[in-house]
Symmetry: C2
Subunit: 372 residues, 2 copies
C-alpha cells in the first residue's frame, strides 16, 4: 500500500473525529490540495475543481510545481479557466491515495496503513471533506464549483449538503446517480482486483501486489472511457511492430496495436494507484444517488439544489456517463430555478473527452465563467 503525493501538495486538516456518512470516523484525516492564481481581497474569485476517480490535486503547473497537470490545457494564466482572474483550488478526494487520507494512509491507531479496514466511504464524505477544505482556506462562497466525472457526483453532493457554498456550478460528464451499465463495469473492475490472488483480502504489499487485477481493471476502464469510432481511426487493425510487444509471446499473446496500447497504460496506472483506494472510490460511485442521499427522487433532489447559474456538459460518445445523465442534471437544476446552460458535445473521445478535447470544452467553460 502506497501513497503517491504530488510534490507541491498542501494539506487541510479535517476535524477530529471526522464522522462518515455510513458510520465510522477518521482521526487526524487530511485533504491534499493545490492552488493556482491568487485569492482576491474580497475572497470572491475562488473556483474549486473536484476530480474524477484517479487524478491528483495537481490540475495545472504553477510556480511550486512546474510539471504539467492533468488539466494543463484548461487551467492557467490566459487559459479557459484563467488563473489571472480565478483562484483555482483542486483537491484530491478523500479516500484517494494522492495525499488525502485513504486506505493507503497510516491509521493513527495502528501506525500501519488502513488497508481494507478503512471505514466505509461515501460520496457524501468526499463532499463534506471538500466543503471543509474550502472553509479552512477562508472562503465563504466559491465563485464556481467544477466537477468532472466522479467529481460531478461529489459536486452535486456538496451542493446538496452545503447550500450556499457555491454561486455557480459546472458539471462535466457527471451524473446524479449510478446506473446499471456503469455499475456492472465497476463491479467487474473490482472483482478483477479482489480475485487477484495477490490481493489477499486487501493486505497486499509491494512484493505481493494485485498487479494483474489492476491491469484488468484499468484496461476495462480505458475501454469504457474511449469510443469505438476514435479507436477505429487511431488503431484500425494495425499489428504490433515486431520486437515491440510488452508481454509474453504465447499463443494468445497480444498481436494488435490496440492491445499493446491498453497494456502500456494499464502498467503505468497499476504502479501509480493504490488498489484499495480504487475499490473504495469505485464502490462510492455505484452507491451514489443524489435522490437516495436526500431521501427523495433524483429529479426532486436536483431541483432543490441552491445554485444560481450552472453549465452542464456531456459528450455524445460517452458510454460510461451517457448524455441522458447530464440532461437529467440540467433539467433538474432548471426545474429548481437555476439558470442552466447545457452543452452536448460531439467529441469522438468518449468519457475522456474532457481531458483530451479541452478546446471544445474550454470554450463553453470560459464563456460561462466570464458571465458569472
Amino acid at each position: 500500500m502506497r501513497e503517491f503525493i504530488p510534490p507541491a501538495a498542501r494539506f487541510a486538516d479535517l476535524p477530529t473525529p471526522f464522522a462518515l456518512h455510513r458510520g465510522g470516523t477518521l482521526t487526524g484525516a487530511r485533504i491534499a490540495y493545490e492552488t493556482v492564481g491568487r485569492l482576491g481581497p474580497e475572497r470572491d474569485n475562488a473556483v474549486l475543481i473536484l476530480t474524477g476517480l484517479s487524478p491528483d490535486a495537481h490540475a495545472a503547473s504553477h510556480p511550486a510545481d512546474a510539471t504539467p497537470g492533468w488539466w494543463e490545457t484548461m487551467v492557467g494564466p490566459g487559459r479557459f479557466i484563467d488563473t489571472d482572474r480565478w483562484y483555482v483550488i483542486c483537491l484530491n478526494s478523500l479516500g484517494s491515495c494522492k495525499g488525502s487520507t485513504g486506505p493507503a494512509s497510516p491509521d493513527p491507531a495502528t501506525g500501519r496503513p488502513y488497508g481494507p479496514a478503512f471505514p466505509e466511504l461515501s460520496m457524501e464524505d468526499i463532499a463534506d471533506a471538500a466543503a471543509h477544505t474550502v472553509r479552512a482556506l477562508g472562503i465563504e462562497q466559491l465563485a464556481c464549483l467544477i466537477g468532472t466525472s466522479m467529481g460531478g457526483m461529489s459536486a452535486l453532493s456538496l451542493l446538496a449538503r452545503h447550500p450556499g457554498l457555491a454561486h455557480g456550478h459546472i458539471n462535466i460528464c457527471g451524473a446524479a446517480r449510478a446506473l446499471p451499465f456503469a455499475i456492472a463495469i465497476r463491479s467487474l473492475q473490482r472483482e478483477a482486483i479482489r480475485c487477484d490472488p495477490h490481493y489477499n483480502g486487501g493486505w497486499y504489499d509491494e512484493q505481493l501486489y494485485p498487479r494483474r487485477g489492476m491491469f484488468t481493471a484499468r484496461k476495462l476502464g480505458m475501454i469504457t472511457y474511449r469510443s469505438a469510432t476514435e479507436w477505429d481511426s487511431r488503431f484500425g487493425r494495425t499489428r504490433i511492430a515486431p520486437g515491440h510487444r510488452t508481454t509474453d509471446d504465447g499463443p494468445f499473446g497480444h498481436e494488435f496495436q490496440v492491445e499493446d496500447y491498453l497494456e502500456r497504460h494499464a502498467r503505468r496506472f497499476a504502479d501509480r494507484f493504490d488498489p484499495n483506494s480504487y475499490l473504495f472510490l469505485s464502490r462510492c460511485m455505484d452507491r451514489f444517488d443524489l435522490g437516495e442521499s436526500c431521501a427523495t427522487t433524483t429529479d426532486e433532489a436536483l431541483s432543490r439544489l441552491d445554485v444560481e447559474k450552472a453549465l452542464v456538459m456531456g459528450v455524445r460518445s460517452d458510454v460510461l456517463f451517457p448524455l441522458p445523465q447530464q440532461r437529467q442534471i440540467a433539467d433538474g437544476l432548471a426545474a429548481g430555478g437555476t439558470d442552466v446552460a447545457f452543452a452536448e458535445l460531439d467529441s469522438p473521445q468518449g468519457h475522456d473527452a474532457f481531458l483530451t478535447d479541452t478546446a471544445r470544452f474550454g470554450t463553453h467553460v470560459a464563456k460561462f465563467l466570464a458571465e458569472l
Copy 2:
C-alpha cells in the same frame, strides 16, 4: 476439458487430413449438425445457419430433440424460418466444444484432448468445414446462407472461398472484419482466462479449472452484448434482495441486482463452455478481415462475393458489432451487383437483440426468404 454435445447432434466427417488456413492439419475431424424440416426432391430448399461463438447446433426443437433451441422462436413449422418449406441445417463451428472437433476433443495422436496444442484456427477453416458439411449432405447449392454474429464473419468467408455455394445470404449483426474496440474487449476476455492461475497454460482439468477467468470473460461479454438503456429499465438501482446473494458478503461484494444477474449468467456459462475453445474462437474473430483473407481491401472483397440476393441486418444499440459494420457489408455486396436489402433495427437489446427480439428480426427474414 469437456465437450458438451447436444443429444440429437449428427456428425459429418471432414476429409483427413483437413488442412488449416494458417498451417497445421486435423485428422479424423468432424462437424456436429442438426437439421429441421425436409430436404426437397430438387435439393434446393436448404438453409444453413452459422452461429455466434457460443451456440451449439440445436437451433430449434425437432422430433429427435424436443427441447427448445437457441433460436426456437425463429425456426420451426410456420415460424419466420418456416421448416414446412425450408430444410434448415445448423452446425457447430469447427473449434467449438459442442460436438465439432475443437481443443476439448481427443487428439487421435495422443488419445487426450488437444487442449492448447490445437492447431491455429481461422475463420477460413470454420467456413471450409461448413462448406464441406453442406456438400457431404448432398447439397450443391444452399437456398440461403444465414450467419449471426461470428457466424456473419464465417458466412462471408464461406461465400468468398466457395463461390456459388449459396443463392441468397442473410447477415445478422455480423462484420467483414474485426475492429479495435471489439478486439480490445476480446483481448481482455482472453487475458482473464489465460491469467487465471488455474488455466495452467491450457492444461486445466475439472478439478483445477479457470472458472474465475471464465466468469470475468462472460460478464464482460454480457456487458457488451446488451445496452445501457435496456439495463436501466430492467434493473435500475434495485438492490439484491436479502438472502439472495450468490457470492461472498465481503466489503466489496455484490449489492445491486445487475451484479447478481451477471454472476448467475457467468456461472452457467463457465460450466458449459470449454475455456480453450473460447480462446481459439475469440482469437479467430480478432484475426478475421475478409479483405486480408482475399488479399485486397475489405470493400473490394465484399464486392467480389458471388451471391444473388442478400439481407443485411444490424441494431442501433449494438456496441460490439456496430451498425457501420453491417452497412459496410450491405454497401460492399451492392457494389458487386448483389440485390441487397438493409435493415437497421431499433431494438434496445444491443448485440443480443437477434436472440431476444426475434419478432422484429423475423419479419425481415421471413419476407426475404419468401421472395427468394
